[in-house]
């Protein structure tokens, strides 16, 4: 990694267990600030598990256990003193399935905002508009902010989820296969969005789609059977990977 880049997230000998089954083995990597980092690899390789370990979403699954350190801004997020709610407010997340709350578009955006602090209607209006503008959704929905979010198209719903995540102004945006359920046009819109958002946020993206990793990411990590095989600049990974497994996967010889 280039020296001028600030590390935002770092894993040190990070192991993860579902009960007896180990899902991640001694992961070590540094994710740079304000770049897009993509994780690729075949299904079940642990890339989503790693992503969900960053904002401790795996805590919600019974019987999981970790070992090692996950450092965000110099603090181990698994430290006892870390408040997981505050942590998640700083780390937004977009999931594979677009899951708007069964509320209005407006309420979906303000959901995270009104949890812990009261804001005036004017403030909320402003954040709703800016979040929707930033997720390239404003022009499509500005006349129906009070309609149910469930009436939107799949692509719009996913962009709403992104808008909802950035409304609380996180520093990191985790995206777990955000386009896997979207058509090519919606996918292009989301990718465009990622491109724009990376100036502000550190984006970590899990994707099944290697072309997508190639298109939008600056850094790419290749996971295989719970191990991080290789982590480097995306260009390097796709043109001259140093590990044979990576090359085999990139060239489609397996996976």
């Amino acid at each position: 990694m280039a020296k001028d880049l600030q590390t935002k997230i770092a894993a040190h000998d990070f192991n993860f267990f579902y009960g007896q089954k180990q899902a991640l083995f001694d992961i070590n990597l540094s994710i740079p600030e304000r770049k897009v980092t993509a994780f690729i690899g075949p299904s079940g390789c642990g890339k989503s598990t790693f992503l969900r370990s960053i904002n401790r979403m795996n805590d919600l699954i019974e019987g999981t256990r970790i070992d090692g350190n996950m450092i965000v801004d110099g603090v181990n997020v698994y430290d006892k003193e870390v408040d997981v709610v505050t942590l998640r407010r700083r780390i937004g997340m977009v999931f594979q399935k677009s899951i708007p709350f069964p509320k209005s578009i407006y309420e979906n955006i303000t959901y995270g905002l009104t949890l812990n602090e009261s804001r005036t209607k004017a403030e909320l209006d402003e954040i709703v508009e800016s979040s929707l503008r930033r997720s390239a959704l404003w022009d499509e929905v500005k006349d129906r902010l009070n309609h149910s979010a469930l009436g939107m198209s799949g692509g719009q719903q996913q962009r709403l989820c992104i808008a909802r995540a950035i409304a609380i102004n996180p520093e990191i945006l985790l995206m777990d296969e955000p386009c896997s359920a979207l058509d090519p046009i919606s996918t292009a819109k989301v990718e465009e969005l990622i491109e724009e958002l990376k100036d502000t946020y550190t984006i970590v993206l899990v994707t099944h789609n290697m072309q997508q990793a190639g298109r939008v990411s600056d850094y790419t990590g290749f996971f295989l059977m719970g191990s991080l095989i290789e982590f480097d600049r995306t260009r390097t990974i796709f043109t001259s990977p140093s590990k044979k497994e990576t090359e085999d996967y990139i060239t489609g010889r397996f996976g």
Binding site: N55, M57, L60, E62, V85, T86, R88, R89, G92, M93, F95, K97, I99, F101, P102, Y111, G112, L115, N116, C161, R164, A165, I168
Partner: protein, 302 residues
Amino acid sequence: MQFSASTLPLPKRLLGFFAVLIALTAAVAVVGIILGMVGNFLANGGTHVTWEFLTEFPRNSNTEGGIWPALAGTTLLVMLMTLLGVPVGTATAIYLTEFAKQDSWFARSVRFAVNTLAGVPSIVFGLFGVGFFIQFMGGNIDAAFGTSSFGDGSLLWSSATLAVLTLPVVIVSVEEALRAVPRDLREASLALGATRMQTIIKVVLPNSVTGILTGSILAVGRGAGEVAAILFVGVTYSSEVLPSAVTEKFMHLGYHLFVLSTQSPDVEKTLPLQFATTLVLLGLTFLLNLTAILIRSRLRKR
């Protein structure tokens, strides 16, 4: 290639035919029994269900007049029962689905208790009501506050007893409703920095209102028809007035029916009254179920 049914050998086709026939007969029989029952009550008591019958007090040792105090008593009973039981049941269900570790010793014990509770004969609940609510709680309240109205059977203790009896119904249906809320929705809320409690209040509960309502109404349906459990805890066979406080005794449709058919000086004379009372009790249960269905379909549409 052809896919006609005639390619199946005859015995198999016959088997299939009989299987359908048996299933159909069973289904028709169920409908038939219900129709026959309702038809019988309608034919024998239908003409007696008049406005006067519903709104008048019984007269002449329950052999004449109406069922107003029983109707009102039943309604008050189930209302109070719902107020007492549904919050407790919902809280238990929330604990079991949202907070308890699924295989923990405590969660398993609670589940075991709920399942056992569901199988306990209702008369046992009645005895429990006498021992726990009337003698223990009521007795202690009276002793502590110098009152005398709590240590006896009443609308309050009957409702409490029924609330305990219907608790398994509420817990199980609310639990089901909570589990039906997709995990993704919870995760989406938690990922936005909501606490577990905020997620439950703002996302999980609003999405399971239908289930909670259905559970409550099922409980009400079960409670409204229950007689054995309230025999010893406050129901009375005759009353000149409606209960004016929760510590008073009350009349009940199911118990009234029992009284009419066994305790009346002239059982033959009360036959039409019995049929009519049964019809009202059935109607009330049906109305409650219908309400449940309507609420559910309306909320589902949203």
